[in-house]
């Protein structure tokens, strides 16, 4: 019950920014940042404990990847000392290099070779063929839009324009998805505020806002 009450209070305080900026909202902002960092630190320490401390110091696995990870992790802290901060580039370089290599290795098949193959336009049902045609058109025209070596006049004028339109539609779909993301949270929070004990907090918030509006009007 305390948890639900706190959750409702946090939602109402967060939404209070819609009315106007206030000290409660500012405090909540700082609490949110602090809590996020706190949880990250806590879970990070637990992860280090299970992945480094226990394998190395409890299970005695000194000759393992965990030891190398521990050494490189500790090398990162050399950044804080002016005489040794160059050493911290070693783990950063290792992470960048390994990360890039892993990504490139896996990219060739799924992201390049597979994507080059195009579905048929004819000999399939109408909508599949139409979709495949649209994909080819959008891909080629979008690529033509990015040919900045040539001005978008003459033979490039209309393909570049279609490419720009294709990109705009794609961004609009992504934006619509973002709106969905936000509305899902709105719905979830609304459920909290319209069930026990959230509706008490909601009622209290409405009274407080109404009082604030009346007080401000009387001042003006």
């Amino acid at each position: 019950m305390i948890e639900d009450l706190l959750f409702a209070i946090i939602i109402v305080v967060a939404w209070s920014i819609v009315y106007k900026d206030n000290p409660l909202y500012q405090a909540l902002e700082n609490i949110l940042i602090g809590l996020t960092l706190g949880i990250s630190l806590y879970e990070g320490l637990i992860s280090l404990n299970s992945r480094l401390f226990i394998p190395i110091f409890v299970n005695g696995k000194w000759l393992s990847g965990s030891t190398i990870a521990l050494i490189f992790g500790l090398l990162m802290f050399t950044r804080f000392f002016s005489g040794t901060k160059q050493i911290s580039r070693l783990p950063i370089a290792l992470m960048s290099g390994v990360g890039t290599a892993i990504a490139v290795k896996g990219a060739i098949g799924p992201m390049i070779i597979q994507q080059i193959s195009v579905g048929r336009i004819f000999g399939v049902d109408f909508w599949t063929g139409f979709n495949n045609f649209l994909m080819i058109l959008a891909t080629l025209t979008t690529m033509s839009y990015f040919l900045f070596t040539f001005t978008h006049t003459g033979f490039l004028k209309y393909p570049a324009r279609i490419g720009r339109f294709s990109m705009m539609m794609s961004f609009a779909v992504s934006l619509a998805g973002m709106v969905h993301f936000i509305t899902a949270d709105m719905t979830g929070f609304s459920i909290v505020l319209t069930t026990y004990p959230g509706y008490y907090i909601l009622a209290l918030a409405i009274v407080m806002i109404a009082a604030s509006v009346v007080i401000e009007r009387s001042k003006n």
Binding site: W15, V18, Y19, K20, T36, I39, S40, E43, G44, I46, S47, N49, S50, R51, I54, P55, N59, K61, S64, G65, S66, V98, G99, I102, A103, K105, G106, A107, G109, P110, M111, Q114, Q115, S117, G119, S170, V173, S174, A176, G177, M178, V179, H180, F181, T183, A184, D185, M186, T187, G188, F189, S190, I191, L193, T194, L202
Partner: protein, 280 residues
């Protein structure tokens, strides 16, 4: 609000205030009203459901997730709908489930703890039916490591138990021993495709609606066998699996909120056009 020659005008801040308050009121009423819009089950949901429903006995499923508590109301209903179905299958068909968080940050850990607390794990034994390898930072490196050698990348589970001591992990060493994969991504799905496409019998994806355009090429090429997104598809999944929950509850109110958003866009554009003509 200022009284001008022709009625009241609102400042920009007051307009924002009005739209925001309107959104809050609509979302509150949308939750209270419970319209009960019809839910029609689409093919992607059937595909996802059928893959889980038809898993052979003793299959091994890896669920890798990079989502966190920041998307609680967005992704959580989807995850819970799948878990509810999956746990029944684990009980009936002795399926082994491996859960791992591979996000950039550890904010997915509280979500798994929440699922362990709220879902019905009765009849299942930790270490024999399911295991949680915890948060392994590294995102794509983690995925590559899991495909290559699970024991090396995850020497212990979340609770610190050595992987050698976990009974179900005895014969599960790499992607070769894993039959199915579900991945929940709140960011970028490319790493999952790069590292795991073609390595398991079936790959299922759970991602947000903004990610769907990015995922379509992989879905069309067959690299993703089934997918679910929050809200609509989750509601359909709950309906098809016979366990309605947050997904169904969200769909009605979301539809009203979206309608309100469209209404605001249309009205504001009309006002803009009318004001423009008036000023000319």
């Amino acid at each position: 609000m200022k009284k001008g020659k022709k009625g009241f005008t609102l400042t920009a801040q007051q307009q924002d205030w009005a739209v925001g308050i309107g959104l809050i009121i609509v979302s509150l009423f949308a939750v209270i009203l419970k319209i009960g819009l019809p839910i029609v089950i689409e093919q992607p949901v059937k595909d996802f459901y059928n893959i889980i429903e038809d898993m052979p006995d003793k299959s091994v499923l890896l669920w890798a997730s990079d989502t966190g508590v920041t998307g609680k109301f967005y992704q959580m209903p989807t995850d819970m709908a799948i878990y509810n179905h999956l746990l029944d299958q684990i009980r009936e068909h002795d399926i082994k489930l491996i859960i791992v968080n591979n996000g950039i940050g550890p904010l997915g850990v509280p979500m798994i703890k929440y699922y362990f607390e709220k879902l019905n794990w009765e009849g299942l034994t930790y270490g024999e039916d399911y295991v949680w390898l915890g948060w392994i930072p590294g995102m794509e490196s983690t995925l590559a490591g899991l495909a290559d050698d699970i024991w090396k990348i995850a020497p212990t589970d979340f609770y610190g138990t050595s992987i050698e001591e976990i009974p179900m992990m005895k014969d599960i060493k790499s992607a070769e021993n894993i039959d199915y994969m579900i991945f929940s991504s709140g960011t970028n799905i490319d790493p999952y495709i790069r590292q795991w496409a073609g390595k398991v019998d079936k790959m299922m994806a759970v991602f947000g609606i903004p990610t769907l355009p990015q995922a379509m090429p992989y879905i069309e090429r067959g690299m993703i066998d089934a997918y679910l997104t929050p809200l609509q598809l989750t509601a359909e999944y709950e309906k098809i699996s016979g366990r309605t929950g947050l997904g169904v509850a969200f769909v009605d109110s979301n539809s009203l909120i979206i309608l309100y958003s469209i209404f605001v866009v249309i009205v504001s554009n009309i006002i803009y056009i009318v004001k423009g003509r008036h000023n000319r």
